[in-house]
């Protein structure tokens, strides 16, 4: 497999970009660049679809001129000078903002690459073989299973950042992963879509982790068959870890950014130190990543990443910020600038963990009546917290017994749900290396069935 541009060569590209931007008239300049190669074997309609091999290098130039910001990104390294000029031109159009600026940076020491050499030995033939083996072993678990799409892939990448304010950092990483997307079909009966997958840093983990993910996929698909209409009531919902991530954490995190506080959109503004969730809820941003999945030690602005408790025992601890939000709030950046080379830095988490509880996973459903929500297909307004949508592949739970349901919706308010968490599983699952989450039980949610 071809390699991405070595990290020091990529850093040199960034430094050339910074010089080009300063020559074009910028007061400050920053260049963030990524280079990657990817090999993939993909599935469609229960068969090999195609093999794919791509490589690309992208850089993004952010400039400040007289307090205004401009940004240009390109995948043409030969267009570095032209892109620098365009970024300066864009900056010239915008009104000045006293909080605009680049962070005072430092030259960070090279972090050890997060590259398992065995991963780089996985070329198209090896990936295709693994992909087809996993397809067959997964389909053998249930004859009704049909795979709409899926893939197994390996990505090897480097990233680098340099700025006129002294920032210099680079990193190299490789990961592999896969997913399956499909459903069960039995004669005229078609089950609900399901999806599962995983991402790993080590070659030895790839097969077992995908086998686990694809076994979960089979259970979700099979569980969605023979579904009946549910019941209308207010009661408990149980969210497995992946639903916790999609339904709860994603929307919550949007409102824990300092940008949302500044824009007057976060319902948590002025609530640091106050209870916003059940005492069972402790959420931590894991900064440079978990031991199983190490991330670059710096954020999108080159600021060192740090671990940050966000909610402890239900009490809000603080907000994520990048350098702009820190200046606007007259505080220090928490090192949570996110984004890639093709976008300006924004605010967000890199990796999250939610503390496990004391309830065994199987005991979460020890309730009189409730619904297990395998997937939520709905609409959530993170500003108000209102949500409403369809429960997909769900199960009605009555006295511990599960019955698959369809055409059942749930509605409520996300921020009320945080307060209504009544149980947290002791088991947790690492999801794509970026989230380590338990299952949750949440009370007093409105369920409607046709």
């Amino acid at each position: 497999m071809n390699r991405p541009i070595p990290q020091h060569d990529l850093l040199e590209l960034c430094q050339r970009g910074v010089r080009a931007a300063l020559d074009a008239g910028a007061d400050q300049a920053e260049v963030f660049a990524t280079s990657h190669t990817e090999s993939e074997a993909s599935l469609e309609k229960n068969d090999l679809n195609q093999t794919r091999r791509v490589e690309e290098t992208t850089f993004g130039i952010r400039v400040l001129k007289s307090g205004s910001m401009g940004f240009c990104t390109s995948n043409q390294a030969s267009a570095l000078t032209e892109a620098a000029r365009e970024a300066v031109l864009l900056a010239g159009l915008s009104p000045a903002d006293e909080n605009n600026g680049l962070p005072s940076g430092e030259a960070l020491q090279d972090a050890a690459p997060a590259v398992d050499p065995d991963l780089l030995d996985l070329g198209v033939p090896e990936l295709t073989s693994l992909c087809m083996e996993l397809l067959e072993s997964t389909r053998s678990q249930d004859a009704r299973l049909t795979i709409d799409s899926g893939s197994v892939s390996v990505t090897h990448g480097t990233q680098a950042i340099a700025s006129s304010e002294g920032t210099q950092a680079s990193f190299e990483g490789a990961n592999a992963g896969g997913y399956l997307f499909g459903m069960c079909v039995d004669g005229e009966a078609v089950g609900s879509f399901s999806y599962d997958g995983d991402t790993v840093r080590n070659a030895a983990d790839l097969r077992p982790r995908l086998e686990s993910a694809f076994s979960r996929f089979v259970k979700k698909c099979a569980g969605a068959m023979d579904a009946e209409s549910g019941e209308s009531f207010r009661g408990s919902i149980i969210l497995p870890p992946d639903t916790v991530q999609e339904f709860l954490i994603g929307n919550l995190l949007a409102m824990l950014g300092a940008d949302r506080v500044r824009l007057g959109q976060s319902p948590f503004a002025q609530k640091v130190g106050e209870s916003i969730a059940s005492p069972l809820f402790t959420l931590v941003e894991e900064g440079p990543g978990l031991p199983e999945f190490r991330l670059a030690p710096f954020d999108r602005e080159g600021t060192p990443r740090q671990r940050m408790p966000l909610v402890v025992d239900g009490v809000l601890q603080g907000f994520l910020s990048n350098s702009y939000e820190a200046r606007a709030a007259q505080s220090a950046s928490t090192g949570h600038a996110t984004g890639g080379a093709s976008s300006t830095p924004h605010v967000g988490p890199s990796c999250l963990s939610l503390a496990g509880g004391t309830t065994p996973l199987d005991s979460l459903s020890d309730i009189e009546r409730g619904v297990l929500v395998t997937r939520f297909s709905g609409s959530t307004n993170p500003i108000t917290g209102d949500f409403s949508g369809v429960i997909k592949g769900g199960f009605l739970i009555r006295d511990g017994e599960r019955t698959p349901i369809e055409e059942t919706t749930m509605a409520g308010n996300l921020y009320d749900c945080l307060k209504n968490i009544s149980a947290v599983s002791s088991e947790r699952r690492l999801i794509n290396g970026s989230a380590y989450l338990p299952a949750l039980r949440i009370d007093d949610v409105s369920i409607s069935a046709s």
Partner: protein
């Protein structure tokens, strides 16, 4: 570029598809008087697809020179050869079909590109300011302007040789209102394939007023009781319905995987008031946001009638699926950027207008809701769909009443379409500012008239 691709393609015996794609994406975002974003993104390269031993191989290069493209062809060929023994159902040679040759154009490219960015930024600044001034309860506003310039050349070894340019400008406005600790939001957006006048068929001020009114009106709105209801869908919600509920289930790759539309050609899937189409052109009204003159396999992107008078008439095809079903390709193969392989995607999907006016339909509705303002939407293999709606107006005894918020609409596509009992004579494209997601994004549009049907409203249950 087209001639360069032709030259490269001539050097190979087997099937080779070369697609040059240059995309320039300019984006402005203003919020609270600050320019939050002023960016430009350039991305170009060539995507290469080969068919070797009945197996696809794909590679891409950002280097658009002939040697780099040839190297990508070799990489794709080597990948296909190495993996072909694993493919069970070998793809036969693609049948001959009418492929596009020549240069094509969509309107508005020069108009948008030559209009100064200063003018676009000033409009965004002024508009955002007007939203904040629209009502005292509005706390936050934003205004965004995007334009996506696309330049493509598609050449295949069996005769396609086409090139085109198009532009898709988008404009969006949002408002957040707050009173006594209660918050609500309103958003309006438009996206077209075309020029400035096409984008602002409604002046920016109209979007300002609508977004602000929604945010303010919803402050006092309650969530309706959930359950099955009679609903009148506005053109934007009809757009979600036809895209999410029907369009995805008739994409032939998905049909072959076992979607609910499999085996239903010629059968009744909707009331006879429903004729539903997908087109690469902007039918019935100008500016649809998903227009393409030619798809990414070099097939002319015309109109496909999916449901005719309630009967399922056609799936949406690429060349491979069309060969499988023994029909002509429908021009639905689309790739988001050069490094993406073409997938079967919708373009502009719509229901044809009927005979009644909206007023007549409301007047004849005893108990129900008028739904307007799309949020998100998703569909399932079962044809079960869900989409979010900003505003649900109660209808009682033929009259519009209070507005409710926080609703989702769901149901099974073909079941809901069978309940359509009224189709209005209006027509509007109204989803052009969004993207469809299917592994990769695609710019699409959808719309139609107002229709009345039965579906599930996701709402609250009493304790």
């Amino acid at each position: 570029m087209r001639s360069l691709l032709e030259e490269v393609a001539r050097g190979y015996d087997g099937f080779v598809e070369l697609r040059y794609h240059n995309k320039v994406f300019r984006s402005l975002l203003v919020s609270q008087g600050r320019v939050e974003k002023s960016t430009v993104r350039h991305r170009k390269g060539v995507g290469v697809r080969v068919l070797v031993n009945g197996t696809w191989g794909f590679a891409s290069t950002s280097d658009c020179s002939a040697p780099a493209i040839r190297a990508a062809v070799e990489t794709a060929s080597a990948s296909a050869k190495a993996s072909s023994s694993y493919r069970k159902a070998k793809i036969p040679a693609l049948p001959a079909t009418g492929l596009a040759v020549g240069d094509f154009a969509e309107p508005g490219v020069t108009d948008i590109l030559e209009r100064p960015m200063e003018e676009k930024l000033q409009l965004a600044l002024d508009t955002e300011s007007r939203v904040r001034a629209a009502a005292s309860s509005i706390q936050t506003a934003s205004c965004g302007y995007n334009e996506i310039f696309t330049e493509k050349a598609i050449v295949t070894s069996d005769g396609a040789s086409a090139a085109f340019k198009l532009i898709r400008p988008e404009f969006r406005v949002s408002a957040v209102a707050e009173r006594d600790g209660s918050r609500s939001s309103g958003a309006e957006s438009i996206g077209v394939t075309g020029g400035w006048e096409c984008l602002f068929r409604d002046p920016a001020q109209v979007l300002v007023e609508r977004a602000a009114k929604t945010a303010v009106d919803l402050l006092d709105a309650t969530i309706p009781e959930g359950g099955r209801s009679t609903v009148i869908l506005s053109p934007s919600i009809v757009g979600l319905l036809v895209h999410e509920a029907v369009g995805h289930t008739v994409e032939a790759d998905f049909v072959m995987s076992g979607s609910v539309a499999k085996g239903k050609l010629g059968t009744r899937v909707a009331s006879d008031l429903v004729t539903l189409c997908d087109s690469g052109r902007s039918e019935l009204a100008s500016g649809a946001g998903g227009c393409i003159p030619v798809d990414d396999e070099g097939v002319i992107a015309g109109e496909t009638v999916i449901i005719k008078d309630g009967l399922l008439n056609s799936y949406l095809h690429n060349r491979e699926s069309a060969a499988h079903y023994g029909v002509a390709p429908t021009g639905n193969a689309r790739a988001w950027e050069y490094a993406d392989q073409p997938l079967i995607r919708m373009r502009n999907t719509y229901i044809r207008p009927g005979q009644q006016s909206l007023e007549e339909i409301i007047a004849s509705t005893e108990d129900g809701y008028l739904l307007d303002g799309p949020r998100n939407g998703q569909a399932d293999a079962t044809g079960e769909f869900m989409f979010g709606v900003q505003r649900a107006y109660r209808i009682k005894n033929g009259r519009i009443g209070d507005v409710h918020r926080g609703v989702t609409l769901s149901g099974k596509a073909f079941d809901v379409l069978q309940t359509v009992d009224a189709v209005s004579n209006e027509f509007l494209w109204d989803l052009g500012s969004g993207h469809c997601g299917k592994g990769q994004p695609a710019k699409v549009d959808a719309g139609g008239p107002y229709i009345r049907c039965q579906a599930m409203l996701g709402g609250q249950q009493s304790a």
